[in-house]
């Protein structure tokens, strides 16, 4: 016995004499398991034996009984003349023994024989043989959907490969005014290539009406898949009943369950794109007029969820020179500042800040570097702090209370429209910037200083915005995001871990990223990447440039005054989680929604300020920070 070898399935040690390297116990277990899916339905009659059928169908060699249900029994057979394998379906004996039925059977059979579609089982022949009504049909060498579902949970990707094919087949029949009336997993066959073939069109009507006279409960279709109106008025249904049944099948494929009385959206049960809920639930509307009116609309709705058949590489690409990429960045943050613990602490601030800006690659340097131009298009800010609320929006030129914070409003008013040029090295790092100094020179005389701030450079935060915040959403993040992207080609369901990445600020931690599904963003198929990370690290604040953490301002008796000390080094820890939609073709993220939660767990050092009012040990620092960041690609010229 080799202790290294374990059965992959039961984890028991694998004996050396394991046949073909397979665990004998598990082999026997699989052999014992009955294939679920077959013979779910109780037939309402005893299917005729092979010998009996052979007498009735001398032109056929009856091979075996392959299925039996309320609508009849199906045999695999060989047409001797053509040496062709066919499926022989016989209707329950006794279903029709009068002229009226015979006439109707002929009429229906004619209509069904016209259904020539690759997704519909072809009817070769039909008729009556020695009292038995029969159809001779195309034989599908595969399984039905019920059996397929029994082989394990079907992935959304697989469901999205199957359902549109059913839509095609149904639409074709509906166009010819043929309603299936009994769509259910047993009637959806899949051949060896995974192609759909819908069986038993119209059979429910043919068999059902007749049988309902004697045996209503048994053959009138399958209740779980039946549209409400079909249950109430079986004679008066249209193609929308098929759409409902398809909805049930779809629901079952996604969740593994039938929809309950109160239908729970599939995404509540399994992890799927929530937008699939809409499609499923609309198909399952109780009132036919609220459903999709054509089954082709179901297919169209699903086309948005383009599943890639093969794994794809998710790699960042720089836009070619001259292309203008416009981003919209919005960040909302809630800060809870515990300060000294004495009133007015704890203080709460809510800050919303947003920008719209365009990047254009001006030049590519042979060594891999680039010259990129940033143009700030719009800026907006709104804060609520200690009972004061104000906002500014460059697009509206609005400022609710310009007197108290005119500095920020005026600053924004000037910097909007500014162009800054970045010189980047091959790793997307900024080597130098051009244009910010000029901007700073403009600001000084133009903006009245409404409050004391860092006397050496009151606009240091502006420089910080250009060097950090804006670039963070694009090329700085490129370096970070690059690390979040998978090293190999991936497909939905794949996940990977990024070690030592940056959830927030200078913290270090591991990210887990999952490629959840393909989703459309701005009409483009994007990989939905869900990420989660935990990080911890020392943050070194430069008291000169720090904007968000340790701004050095304290609210005293309704006025902002400089704090007695600023935190210079602290330990932050926190988590980040979010979703990014990455467009592999564009090589860019269309949208990123991230939530950062972090707190300062320890102050390592603080720098005293010159304000005598607040001198002392009280350290002003955001202690808890909750950020919601959204970055959207507005256009990619």
């Amino acid at each position: 016995m080799d202790p290294q070898k374990l059965c992959q399935n039961c984890q028991a040690p694998l004996a050396d004499d394991a046949p073909h390297g397979l665990c004998p116990a598990c082999l026997m277990k699989v052999a014992l398991a009955t294939a679920t899916g077959a013979g779910q339905e109780k037939p309402g009659f005893t299917p005729p034996g092979i010998a009996e059928l052979a007498r009735k169908f001398p032109q056929l060699e009856i091979i075996e009984l392959i299925g039996c249900g309320g609508m009849g029994a199906v045999y695999k057979a060989r047409q001797k003349e053509l040496d062709r394998i066919v499926a022989l379906k016989i209707l329950p004996p006794g279903v029709g023994n009068d002229d009226a039925f015979a006439e109707r059977f002929t009429r229906e059979a004619k209509a069904l024989a016209r259904l020539n579609h690759p997704g519909i089982i072809t009817i070769h022949d039909s008729g009556q043989a020695d009292g038995l009504y029969f159809f001779l049909m195309e034989f599908v060498d595969g399984v039905n959907l019920r059996q397929l579902l029994a082989t394990g949970r079907v992935s959304p990707r697989e469901a999205l490969a199957i359902v549109p094919q059913i839509c095609d087949a149904l639409q074709f029949a509906h166009d010819q005014c043929i309603v299936h009336r009994d769509i259910k997993p047993e009637n959806i066959l899949l051949d060896r290539r995974g192609r759909v073939k819908v069986a038993d069109f119209g059979l429910a009507k043919l068999v059902g009406e007749r049988a309902s006279l004697t045996d209503a409960g048994r053959v009138m279709g399958t209740p779980a898949y039946m549209a409400p109106e079909q249950a109430r008025h079986p004679d008066d249904v249209d193609h929308r009943a098929d759409i409902y049944a398809l909805g049930v099948v779809f629901y079952q494929m996604l969740t593994g369950e039938l929809p309950g009385k109160r239908i729970e959206p599939p995404s509540k049960k399994v992890h799927i794109d929530v937008r699939l809920d809409e499609v499923v639930l609309r198909a399952l509307e109780k009132k036919p007029e609220l459903r999709y009116q054509q089954v082709s609309e179901v297919k169209t709705s699903l086309e948005a969820f383009v599943p890639a058949a093969t794994p794809v590489e998710l790699k960042l690409k720089w836009p070619s020179p001259g292309k203008r990429i416009v981003f919209c960045f919005d960040m909302k943050q809630a800060i809870e500042d515990f300060g000294s613990g004495q009133p007015p602490y704890p203080l709460k601030y809510d800050i919303a800040i947003g920008f719209e800006y365009a990047f254009t690659v001006l030049k590519e340097v042979p060594e891999g570097g680039r010259e990129v131009e940033l143009e700030l298009l719009e800026a907006r800010i709104g804060t609520m702090a200690g009972g004061m609320t104000w906002q500014y929006d460059s697009a509206k030129k609005s400022s609710a209370d310009p007197s108290s914070h005119s500095m920020v409003a005026a600053t924004f008013g000037i910097i909007v429209g500014a162009k800054v040029r970045y010189f980047l090295d091959a790793s997307h790092r900024i080597e130098r910037m051009e244009g910010v100094d000029e901007l700073m020179k403009q600001l000084k005389p133009a903006v009245p200083l409404a409050q004391p701030s860092n006397p050496s450079d009151p606009f240091v935060w502006v420089r910080n915005m250009f060097s950090n915040i804006f670039t963070e959403t694009y090329f700085k993040r490129l370096a970070k995001l690059d690390r979040l992207l998978p090293p190999t080609a991936v497909q939905p369901g794949d996940s990977w871990t990024v070690l030592d990445a940056y959830p927030i600020e200078e913290t270090r931690g591991d990210f887990k990223v999952v490629f959840q599904s393909w989703e459309m963003r701005a009409d483009r198929p994007c990989a939905r990447l869900e990420f989660q990370g935990v990080g911890k690290g020392t943050v070194k604040n430069n008291p000169e440039t720090t904007l968000n953490t340790g701004s050095g301002m304290v609210l005293r008796e309704g006025k902002w005054v400089e704090a007695g000390a600023r935190v210079s080094n602290s330990i932050l820890e926190g988590t980040t989680s979010g979703v990014a939609w990455f467009d592999p073709e564009l090589g860019l993220t269309h949208e990123t929604n991230a939530i950062n939660d972090f707190k300062m767990v320890k102050t390592i050092s603080a720098v005293p300020t010159e304000n005598p009012d607040t001198a002392g040990p009280a350290i002003h620092m955001p202690q808890k920070l909750h950020q919601v960041i959204t970055v959207k690609l507005v256009s990619a010229g």
């Binding site: 016995m1 059965c7 992959q8 399935n9 004996a15 050396d16 004499d17 394991a18 046949p19 073909h20 397979l22 665990c23 004998p24 116990a25 598990c26 082999l27 026997m28 277990k29 699989v30 052999a31 014992l32 294939a35 062709r84 394998i85 066919v86 195309e138 034989f139 060498d141 595969g142 399984v143 059996q147 397929l148 029994a150 082989t151 394990g152 949970r153 079907v154 992935s155 990707r157 697989e158 490969a161 199957i162 899949l190 051949d191 060896r192 290539r193 995974g194 058949a309 093969t310 794994p311 497909q491 369901g493």
Partner: protein, 251 residues
């Protein structure tokens, strides 16, 4: 039918390739004197001699003696009318074989071995090396001779079925398929990596499911047919398979 060759075994394959040996046929022949029943018995013996060899070894026979004993046992079994004497019970071949072997070892082996040495044609083509090699792989510690026999029986049966399955796929040029899908024979349905399988075979995930389903289906057919060949009536197949499952899980 479309001539779709993308997976599984082909429908055009001769259906009778699986030559079942029928214990029930042997039993039905009563005295075991018809040629057909004799052939059937010989085939069963050829397949299931190893578990007896292992039994004899565990009972303390040397490799050489165990080989001799097995040979002689089968010679007597095929020549004589033990089957008729086998209480004429509608038992399973497995139980019959073990009780006959026990009886043989207790009552006739010494005499038989004395007569046998130095003459006669071997009934079975026993490859002693491979048998002994296999015996050495048996889980040694706790096994009783009987449990070793039963485990050997079950594994032999599975081997035969898997070899047939392989042969069918090979014949239709689907060996790669078989290799890729073999895990489907032991893996829980929920944990099958259909996506990976699809990628290996360059087919869609659904096609991979269909193929795995068909493989399991065919495997079940084959194993049931094989087990059916060792029991007296079709109704006993299920119980015999459950018994073998217990044997394998307790072993």
């Amino acid at each position: 039918m479309a001539t779709d060759e993308s997976g599984g075994y082909s429908e055009s394959r001769p259906a009778a390739l699986f030559v079942t040996t029928h214990w029930s046929e042997v039993l039905a022949a009563g005295r075991g004197d018809t040629t057909r029943a004799g052939d059937a018995l010989a085939r069963l013996c050829q397949t299931y001699w190893y578990p007896l060899y292992a039994y004899a070894r565990r009972r303390g026979c040397s490799p050489h003696d165990a080989q001799d004993l097995t040979q002689e046992f089968f010679a007597r079994l095929l020549a004589g009318n033990w089957v008729a004497k086998a209480d004429r019970q509608r038992g399973r071949f497995r139980s019959f074989l073990l009780s006959a072997m026990k009886h043989f070892m207790a009552n006739e082996w010494n005499k038989a071995s004395a007569q046998k040495r130095g003459g006669g044609q071997p009934i079975l083509s026993l490859n002693d090396d491979s048998a002994e090699h296999r015996y050495r792989l048996e889980p040694a510690e706790r096994a009783t001779p009987e449990s070793l026999f039963e485990r050997g029986w079950a594994v032999t049966l599975l081997e035969g079925v898997l070899a047939r399955l392989d042969e069918e796929y090979r014949r239709t040029g689907k060996q790669t398929w078989m290799e890729a899908m073999r895990p489907a024979l032991t893996t829980d349905r929920e944990s099958m990596d259909y996506a990976g399988m699809a990628q290996t075979l360059g087919i869609t995930e659904t096609a991979a499911r269909v193929a795995a389903h068909r493989l399991r289906q065919r495997y079940r057919q084959l194993i049931r047919a094989e087990v059916a060949g060792t029991v007296a009536s079709p109704e006993e197949v299920e119980a015999e398979m459950r018994h073998l499952f217990r044997v394998l899980t307790n072993g």
